[in-house]
């Protein structure tokens, strides 16, 4: 088994939006960052993976087995965090554990209690009194306590303060130390993914724009800067997208090394994932 999760050719049509032939994989031992603007199709894709929506086309495999057949069994080994959907507000962590211990075959109550202590979460307080960060931690504790091998997290760090965010990112890195584990994180906070992701899959308007290794992405792409008058010297087909300022033009290029040879007089800087995302969206709109 190479992949923990494999999504092939996923299609789903809504009135105003559709997922078109989405492909996505989470290899063993890796963190895959799933990026895209709000409404690009990240949550819809994740919903299809967990079986909350029925796609029109496509094959989804968890641990090399199609989810159509025995998705309940396969869900024993995944931990999913969806924003805003959880137990009813009056539940305490203790009650949640009580319910889930009957649902998960590998539920480890000692582990759960130990993690509650580690994250300083009160076991008997209703979750409506929890902050967003505390809820997120509780969701992660649940995933760890049933021995999940694959975490699927929809916007896990949005709305959290930097300290909690870093704490959680560190937990992700610790989780991935086991080579049989993997994480799919959807996020529009690309700086978080820059820190931890091994692969980046970028979705825009329901279509996958690219899937690349994060290091390649940062190494290969470059930000070309030139004055407005020099812009004519550029071959537009080399540019993925560009931003025209009053005096300066910034353009995103692929194959940084090659471009440096082709345009030796131009300055080509390193680029962040956020900028890559922005230029792709802008370039495609034009």
């Amino acid at each position: 088994m190479e992949h923990l999760l494999e999504v092939k050719d996923l299609c789903k049509t809504y009135h105003t939006f559709s997922l078109k032939h989405v492909n996505l994989t989470v290899p063993k031992g890796s963190i895959v960052g799933f990026i895209g603007e709000n409404g690009a199709g990240k949550t819809t894709t994740i919903k299809a993976i967990i079986g909350a929506i029925k796609p029109e086309q496509g094959d989804i495999q968890l641990f090399d087995q199609s989810i159509d057949n025995k998705s309940e069994k396969l869900k024993q080994d995944i931990g999913v965090v969806m924003e805003g959907s959880f137990f009813y507000d009056d539940f305490t962590p203790k009650q949640i554990a009580h319910v889930l211990s009957g649902v998960y075959a590998h539920w480890d109550q000692e582990k759960f209690d130990a993690y509650l202590k580690k994250f300083k979460l009160p076991a008997t307080k209703p979750i409506k009194e929890f902050s967003k960060g505390m809820r997120m931690k509780l969701s992660l504790i649940i995933a760890f306590s049933h021995d999940a091998k694959l975490l699927i997290l929809d916007e896990p760090t949005s709305g959290l303060d930097p300290i909690v965010r870093n704490e959680i990112l560190e937990e992700f890195l610790a989780f991935i130390q086991d080579e049989n584990h993997g994480i799919l994180i959807s996020s529009h906070i690309t700086t978080d993914l820059e820190k931890i992701a091994d692969y980046i899959t970028f979705i825009h308007n329901g279509e996958i724009v690219f899937t690349e290794e994060k290091d390649n992405l940062i190494y290969n792409y470059g930000l070309l800067k030139c004055g407005a008058s020099e812009f004519d010297q550029l071959d537009v087909t080399d540019l993925i997208g560009y931003r025209k300022g009053q005096f300066q033009i910034e353009a995103l290029v692929k194959n940084k090394a090659q471009m440096k040879k082709k345009y030796p007089d131009f300055l080509i800087d390193a680029v962040s994932i956020e900028e890559i995302m922005l230029f792709h969206v802008r370039g495609m709109n034009e």
Binding site: I53, K54, K75, Q76, S85, Y88, D90, Q95, V103
Partner: protein, 210 residues
Amino acid sequence: MNSLILKDFISLKSYSKSLAIIIGFFTIITFTNDELSFLSGMIILIMSMLPITSFSYDQHAKWDLFSQTLPVSRKQLVMSKYVLGIISIIAGAILAILLNVVVLLVKSLEVDVWYLFLANSLIALVALLYLSILIPLVYKFGVEKSRLLMIVVLAIPSVLAIGLSKAGVSIPVLDEITPAILVAIGLVLVVCVMLISYVISVRIYMKKDF
């Protein structure tokens, strides 16, 4: 599936206080007006609404989506609501019988347990029938719209019954059979209706996107 029912009961815990107050209130009223069947009817009706209440808690927490992340099937989710309803209604009937006995004893009236059992069983069967109609409606239209449908579903048989009796139509068979046979026939009927209702609910729920 036990865990799913447990989850519903924990959700309903905060609701149980108001439930106890309402039932206490009706019990006190019964001391003054001696309407034992009214007390039974109210308790069992209120208890039969517990699954519907649990649906609104579910909606509030977006449980439908969250439950999809758990290793439970949609069939189990639907089944758990029916079992919750059966448990609630049976518990309601037992509670109603006990409170009836209490009222009768306090007023030093004769306690006919067999009669109480039959009368409350009949009410419980009606409640199960009612619930069997409601649950698929909730799955189809959502819990908010179903609150209105609840009243409609309750009103139709009453209107029919009143209409029939006004028109002078009587069902002679009903006058001849004993209450025990009525309960037995009712039980068979309710089991059939519930099974059909369950199959319909599963079909609706299987197709849903969250």
